[in-house]
Symmetry: C2
Subunit: 160 residues, 2 copies
Amino acid sequence: MTSHPDESCCGSPHPIAPLPELTARLRREARRVTGPREAILDVLRRHARPLRIKEIHTLLGAGANCDLATVYRAMRLLEGMGMVKRVELGRRGSSFELLGEGDDGHHHHLVCTECDRVMELDSCLLETVEKGISLASGFKKVTHRLEFFGICPRCQSPAS
Amino acid sequence: MTSHPDESCCGSPHPIAPLPELTARLRREARRVTGPREAILDVLRRHARPLRIKEIHTLLGAGANCDLATVYRAMRLLEGMGMVKRVELGRRGSSFELLGEGDDGHHHHLVCTECDRVMELDSCLLETVEKGISLASGFKKVTHRLEFFGICPRCQSPAS
DNA sequence: CTGAGTGCAAAGTTTTTGCAGCCTC
DNA sequence: GAGGCTGCAAAAACTTTGCACTCAG
């Protein structure tokens, strides 16, 4: 189990991918490397935890001069390319986190129901379950989405 | 594994609770049994699968004369009372399904990514995982949300 | 009778879309 | 230079809220 860096906690679970490596992935798929996209990828690589669209837009700051609609479009593109994983953490709206090259993003999260802090859980033992479900149901390409919720130690103490 | 009744499939996984039993639960909590609430509960008990707010509102029909805002308010109430479970199935917005008395709602779903049909999965083996996570992380009241996605047999055939 | 609950209307959020101009390739 | 991408604006989709009236208990 690893905690997230950033406001929430500390210690990155994954090595931070260099920005040029990320833009290279865009180019490889014949997508253009633009200012907004570069800025968005940079925000994502510097915050290794699920970020909401609005958070990304805010973190971009006024300098990036990037429209909210552009963030939505970029995240849809990146999701489609598998560069980013969409996570639904119960709060309103989706969150996104960067995926490493070849990372299928099959880790899961532990979310505090009080303060929304997010921890990442390391292992995923559900591949065999998926196979069993696929066999029993006839479904193909079975994947899953799994999130844990609870009250974090900080929110359990009286003065949170 | 059980499939859902209704448009999707057939065979109810749970016995259908009588309407008076449901309204009794309302009264027991000192909530009023009104026309709209009764109609909403009746819709829920007759469709044993996750329903979206809009679906519920539509299924109520013009006769019920129930406002969409009232459905939202009712679902929040019922969720708070534990009579209903909120499910996020990837489509936009939440879905809800009726919970039996004493049912904690810990079953999960298999959703077709093509047509959105939903099947219910019977068992949940994650309680021990939850306990382990709680021990390792210090989180309290750990619960989880788990959904499987895939392409159902019907959507795999050429003429779906 | 009393206040919880409702309909209606309006506003708040989140996400998508159309379009003209810009800038990457 | 061509077309993918962007900002801006508007709208669509989803959800909440304020208020006066109604009706369940």
